[in-house]
């Protein structure tokens, strides 16, 4: 049988997360575009809600914050037993953590089911919550990604910036299929190489951009982003590629402010790996890859 997408298509439950409707629409858009060619049909969690990110617990409390994820898990289970995949680092961390906690603790499972019961819902802990990058590495494989490349990104120099929560604290655990390491992950460079682009040896790939601290208190976080950009500039990168919605926004939108504060001259495009794949797969650079939604445009990528 011919190895075509139609023959292999399988459905997975998709949790887009809040940033998919705002700062990271272009991540959502490009992912939806590349999943078809890769043989995955996405079924969104019905009426999904926020995961609580890194701060929900502070005001909401531990249990109520976990209940946010529990509702998503319950809605996902009601639709089917398929794995949940999410592209957002924080959504993955929270949903995976709550799911694993439910699986490991009868008392938490009981408490969260009591909370869900207030709305006539329940969840038994049987689902598997996975990061899309892990799914791409484990289920799809780079061979299948390469097979879809119609326009190799030849000559595009890419610094792969992984960030934190995509790999920490779960990448090297059994339930994350040990898809990569915490300090020296290679999956993002593998994505770049599969697209036919040039992989740059970006040492700071798992350094933190400051996360939401950079958003709320730029004074505390901008130096972290500057260190990343310094290194990327030294490497002569055309673009930075990242899997994380917050990394993409932070590293991109603060460049003018960093230039003002530190006297630098950064103007480096920051794209999602899925945008690179969409372009390499020969899909529409705007409608599918969302390249018009990057604040700093990459002319080189746009012309590919």
């Amino acid at each position: 049988m011919e190895k075509g997408p139609k023959a292999m298509t399988r459905t997975l439950t998709y949790y887009p997360g809040c940033s998919s409707q705002a700062s990271a629409v272009h991540l959502d858009k490009s992912l939806r575009a590349i999943m078809g060619p890769l043989g995955v049909a996405l079924r969104d969690i019905d009426d999904w809600n926020c995961c609580g990110a890194s701060v929900g617990h502070i005001e909401g409390g531990h249990l109520a914050n976990s209940a946010l994820s529990a509702r998503n898990l319950a809605n996902a289970q009601a639709a089917g037993p398929e794995d949940i995949i999410t592209p957002c680092a924080a959504c993955y961390l929270n949903t995976h953590y709550v799911n694993e906690s439910i699986r490991g603790s009868e008392s938490l499972k009981k408490d969260l089911n009591e909370a869900l019961g207030a709305a006539g819902k329940s969840y038994d802990g049987s689902l598997h919550v996975r990061h899309i990058c892990e799914m791409l590495v484990t289920d799809i494989g780079m061979g299948a990604v390469k097979a879809q490349v119609k326009k190799p990104l030849t000559g595009l120099k890419v610094a792969g910036y992984v960030g934190c929560q995509t790999v920490r604290p779960f990448a090297n655990t059994e339930r994350a299929n040990k898809f990569d390491t915490y300090d020296d992950p290679t999956f993002l460079d593998d994505f770049t190489a599969a697209c036919g682009a040039e992989v740059l040896p970006f040492k700071l790939r798992t350094h933190c951009c400051g996360g939401s601290v950079s958003v709320m208190s730029p004074d505390k976080g901008l130096h972290l982003i500057k260190e990343l950009l310094d290194e990327v500039q030294k490497l002569g990168a055309d673009v930075i590629s990242t899997p994380c919605p917050l990394c993409q926004t932070n590293v991109e939108m603060y460049q003018p402010e960093i230039n003002k504060r530190f006297g630098t001259n950064f103007n480096i495009p920051v794209v999602f790996y899925s945008q690179l794949m969409a372009v390499a797969f020969g899909l529409d650079p705007v409608k599918d890859a969302g390249l018009d939604q990057n604040i700093i445009k990459s002319d080189k990528l746009l012309k590919m």
Binding site: Q21, S23, D47, I58, G61, L68, G210, Q293
Partner: protein, 203 residues
């Protein structure tokens, strides 16, 4: 985890026990051997009053107020470097997260004024009210938590960024994004809060 048995006491020799028994992952703190891998791994450690290693020793020493008023619990960027590097498998980030919640519950001053505490308040408001994080409203509410004048100043300071986000259709101008079943979510959250209150503890 509503409050510890001795809220507002500067020193409490039972504080470590309280943390071991009531904070998510707190029981692993018993295993801390003070190696400092956590503090050495922290990208923002230099801006903390105390690194996690020292903070954990302070917990053992019963320095409750100093722990719950330190900026350590508010400056954590949740990068999880410390969690994956700790040779004793102490879930450090999780513990710092729940200490922040405890500080809010016990009403310490920094828990009212810290950037992260204000941000968390705005964030939870959006998540609980709409079921989604509306980045515009969360940022706006956070800015104005410093007062009207400061709110306007911060808003104007970020005008260029906001315009760029609107131009690239990454910030919309209409009503907040919201889930359909808001009342259902609110019932679940209210029940969860009630259960937590009943337990009188975190996990």
């Amino acid at each position: 985890m509503t409050i510890s048995p001795t809220p507002k006491r500067a020193y409490d020799l039972n504080f470590a026990r309280y943390v071991y028994e009531n904070i998510d992952g707190g029981e692993r703190l018993r295993m801390c051997m003070q190696c400092g891998a956590c503090s050495g791994s922290c990208p923002i450690g230099k801006q903390m009053d105390h690194g996690p290693r020292k903070l954990f020793m302070m917990i053992r020493a019963g320095m409750k107020e100093a722990v719950l008023t330190s900026n350590t619990i508010w400056n954590c960027v949740s990068c999880y470097n410390c969690v994956v590097r700790c040779p004793r498998k102490v879930p450090i980030t999780y513990i710092l997260h729940d200490l922040a919640y405890l500080a809010v519950q016990e009403g310490y001053e920094p828990a009212k004024k810290a950037d992260n505490a204000r941000f968390a308040k705005a964030f939870w408001w959006s998540a609980a009210k709409y079921g989604r994080t509306d980045e515009r409203l969360v940022t706006g509410k956070y800015y104005f938590s410093f007062g009207i004048g400061e709110g306007i100043k911060r808003g104007l300071g970020n005008q260029a960024i906001a315009l760029n986000m609107i131009k690239t259709k990454r910030m919309h101008l209409g009503m907040p994004h919201a889930i359909k079943a808001k009342d259902e979510l609110q019932k679940i959250l209210a029940k969860a809060a009630e259960i937590q209150e009943r337990h009188g503890k975190g996990a």
